[in-house]
């Protein structure tokens, strides 16, 4: 099957052109990792799986996985999550 080249929408291009933070305007997820102490994810859509060593969250881009030790969720609202604990690795599964 021929893979379709993803077309960047016009709105996104315009926002990039004037340097606006896209996580505020478009709701693209913004992932911040603070050393190995914790991470913040803005614009998430939900938690898929959570235990002490693994946190899986879904975002509008796809699935985001954080591996670590003694992970606790410091705060959780419907748009962002703050994570504490030793972070050992993360990856993104974009659809």
């Amino acid at each position: 099957m021929k893979k379709k080249k993803r077309k960047i929408p016009a709105a996104e291009r315009a926002i990039e052109a004037i340097d606006l933070p896209s996580e505020l305007v478009l709701g693209t997820p913004c992932i911040t990792v603070r050393g190995d102490r914790g991470a913040t994810v803005e614009n998430l859509s939900g938690i898929v799986e959570y235990d002490e060593n693994l946190l899986v969250i879904s975002t509008s881009l796809g699935i985001f996985r954080i591996k670590g030790e003694k992970l606790t969720i410091k705060s959780l609202t419907d748009v962002d999550i703050e994570l504490c604990g030793r972070i050992k690795g993360f990856d993104i599964d974009a659809d």
Partner: protein, 393 residues
């Protein structure tokens, strides 16, 4: 940090959720805007988290749909803390005392700040304010600011406007001073007029036109030296000079044919009290005064911390010194001599600087129950006073 303080005051719960679909339970919770924090997975199918009290009431639906069992582990924050201790009377009493103390301490004026006073002494304003009821240690409520304003305008000369603002525990007094008569500078055109009635004895005129001669009788306000020089053309000059004149100052009074003298007997009665605001509470010696005649003096000591922060507490000591009042009868002659001293002293206080006293004269008339006394000072003084030239043409 801030959110933690808010959570403390609102109160929150530590709950334990047990179930197979904990992630789904959490997702449902946040979708219905329930804020969760400090989520910690303890073991499989078991998590501990914190939730607001209001959120806990709404979490039932999510728990039911995901078959999660929710159990309260601990109640934290201020409301549950107080709820638990609502039956401890001493504790509640302590809280009430604390609140009462805060209210009480903030209902006094703790400092008086005066703004805008340059020429007028701040202490004289402060004293006048105190007699109008504004001072350190006075209850800050029930002051009619308009009455204070009116009273202050009467009491303090030189004020053109005053306003008292009570902000918290401070009284901020804003003052506008009256600007005095514009002074005549040394080269502005002016006249010299007489500052009081008298007979001119000597004139030294440095500039200007003499309008009177030595030996003339002048009355107060009369033109002595004119700044208008009439020559070939009209010139306005700064009249300058010294005009000496013989003047008379007089004072009358009625006095009895006796004098009283008080002698201290050496017996002293002291009364101590603590004054809070306007009330004073006697501490030691409660009677008013044990003596018939006494010299009363009062000493006050305001308690203050670190020099400037005055407490609304004052220690007051009233000292009553017993005196014997002795009354002497006088002949009219003796009475006139005795009381003329007072009148002369008053007269001399009113004289301007540099005045020489030439003669003292005293006359008395005997009346029914005393004497009418008339004292007169004959002086030599400089009566020149500069005055602006009024153009009448």
């Amino acid at each position: 940090m801030l959110i933690r303080i808010i959570n403390f005051f609102r109160g929150y719960l530590v709950i334990e959720a047990c179930g197979a679909f904990l992630e789904r339970f959490i997702n449902l919770a946040i979708k219905s805007k329930i804020y969760l924090w400090d989520i910690e997975k303890k073991e499989k199918n078991k998590a501990e988290m914190k939730i607001s009290i209001r959120g806990f009431h709404r979490i039932r639906k999510a728990a039911y749909r995901t078959k999660t069992r929710v159990r309260i582990k601990e109640k934290r924050g201020l409301p549950p803390y107080l709820h638990k201790r609502r039956k401890r009377k001493a504790f509640l009493f302590g809280i009430a005392v604390f609140i009462a103390a805060v209210i009480l301490l903030t209902s006094f004026i703790w400092s008086v700040e005066i703004e805008g006073a340059e020429k007028i002494e701040k202490n004289s304003i402060r004293d006048a304010l105190r007699s109008c009821g504004i001072g350190v240690g006075v209850v800050k409520y029930n002051h009619d600011k308009r009455v204070i304003q009116r009273e202050m305008m009467k009491k303090v000369p030189g004020l053109s406007w005053i306003w008292v603002d009570i902000k918290g525990t401070r009284a901020i007094v804003t003052v506008k001073e009256r600007t005095g008569k514009p002074e005549i500078k040394s080269d502005d055109p002016c006249n010299i007029v007489a500052s009081c009635d008298g007979v001119i004895t000597r004139m030294i005129v440095r500039d200007g036109q003499k309008m009177v001669q030595e030996g003339d009788v002048v009355s107060k306000g009369q033109l002595l030296v004119s700044g208008v020089m009439e020559g070939a053309e009209l010139q306005l000059r700064h009249a300058d000079g010294e005009i000496y004149a013989t003047t008379w100052h007089e004072k009358n009074g009625s006095f009895p044919l006796s004098k009283t003298e008080s002698l201290k007997t050496g017996r002293v009665y002291k009364k101590h009290s603590v004054a809070v605001g306007g009330f004073s509470i006697p501490v030691y010696h409660f009677k008013r005064s044990p003596y018939k005649d006494a010299d009363v003096s009062e000493k006050e000591y305001s308690l203050h911390l670190w020099g400037d922060l005055y407490l609304p507490l004052r220690l007051k000591t009233e000292v009553f010194e017993e005196t014997n009042i002795l009354k002497y009868d006088l002949t009219p002659q003796e009475a006139a001599l005795y009381y003329s001293g007072e009148l002369f002293a008053e007269l001399e206080d009113g004289l301007s600087d540099g005045t020489k006293i030439l003669d003292r004269d005293m006359q008395y008339v005997k009346t029914e129950n005393g004497i009418d006394l008339k004292c007169m000072l004959t002086c030599s003084e400089n009566i020149s006073e500069t005055r602006e030239i009024e153009i009448t043409e």
